[in-house]
């Protein structure tokens, strides 16, 4: 389905230790639901509060974009896929909405096609700041797929501390 390719999100060829797929309609009240599901899924790794908040925020941005830009408040389904690795999570948010014409422009800080809705144009920038890698694939008239990777550095720190304690 997808054409253009920006960024390089990928957790490599490792097998995930757990995964989930969530499908839900593009309703704004599902933004908080998607956040809860993603946060609850990654908590099995016991990441730091900050890492949890980072993922919640990035998921919120990607799902909100699918609702207001992808489907423009029309009906449609959003798919969120989480692949959990022992040190990271890859979260993909997919819509089959209108798609993005110019991905590079869309990713610019402050760029928004909906200033009338008081969008800040910071959605992609937030995802990039709060996650470690963000890949955007999109085709006009087909839809958009945003893939985000987050490393849980806190787990490494914990491991290191546990080792030093011995």
């Amino acid at each position: 389905m997808m054409a253009k390719d920006n960024g390089t999100a990928s957790a490599g060829k490792k097998k995930p230790i757990n995964e989930m797929t969530l499908i839900f309609p593009a309703l704004s009240r599902n933004e908080s639901f998607a956040r809860v599901v993603a946060a609850s899924f990654i908590s099995q790794l016991d990441p730091s509060i900050e890492e949890l908040a980072d993922v919640r925020t990035a998921v919120s941005e990607a799902v909100t974009n699918a609702i207001i830009h992808g489907y423009e408040d029309k009906a449609g389904n959003i798919k969120m896929i989480c692949l959990l690795y022992d040190d990271s999570v890859e979260i993909t948010v997919i819509d089959e909405g209108k798609g993005i014409e110019n991905i590079e422009l869309a990713r610019q800080p402050l760029y928004t096609s909906k200033p009338d809705m008081e969008r800040s144009g910071m959605g992609f920038t937030v995802m990039e700041t709060f996650m470690d890698e963000v890949k955007v694939e999109s085709e006009v008239g087909k839809g958009t797929k945003v893939t985000m990777l987050k490393y849980f550095k806190s787990l490494k720190d914990k491991e290191r501390r546990a080792k030093n304690d011995k």
């Binding site: 704004s28 900050e50 908040a53 919640r56 919120s60 008081e118 969008r119 937030v126």
Partner: protein, 117 residues
């Protein structure tokens, strides 16, 4: 999502409680704009101390009010101590144009000091 208002002179203090995302933003915007048109409102303090979550929709709301208040030469300040939300205010550039305080009292004191001059 709850929005609570109080006034200190011509300062409108907007206390946001809950999670501020796109879903909540329509309601929040309507509530705030209903208070903003009152002639008593010249300056605004956004008290985010009771927000447990905010994404870029919150940035949009604050920036929108900032533009409106600037037009009448008013001031805007934000009270916030949540690390995640501070990170968001920082990266969005809001902290370059709007002063951020650790709590609402400090914001009020500073704003009264400035506006009384």
């Amino acid at each position: 999502m709850q929005v609570k208002f109080s006034n200190k002179g011509n300062i409108l203090i907007v206390r946001l409680i809950g999670e501020l995302d796109h879903h909540a933003s329509d309601y929040v915007r309507r509530k705030i704009d209903g208070e903003m048109i009152k002639p008593t409102t010249k300056n605004i303090i956004f008290d985010l101390s009771n927000l447990s979550f905010m994404d870029s929709s919150g940035i949009g709301i604050i920036m929108g009010r900032y533009r409106a208040i600037s037009r009448i030469n008013g001031q805007i300040a934000v009270a916030c101590s949540n690390a995640q939300i501070l990170k968001l205010l920082e990266m969005s550039g809001i902290s370059k144009v709007i002063q951020i305080f650790s709590d609402a009292d400090k914001a009020v004191k500073s704003m009264l000091g400035v506006t009384k001059k």
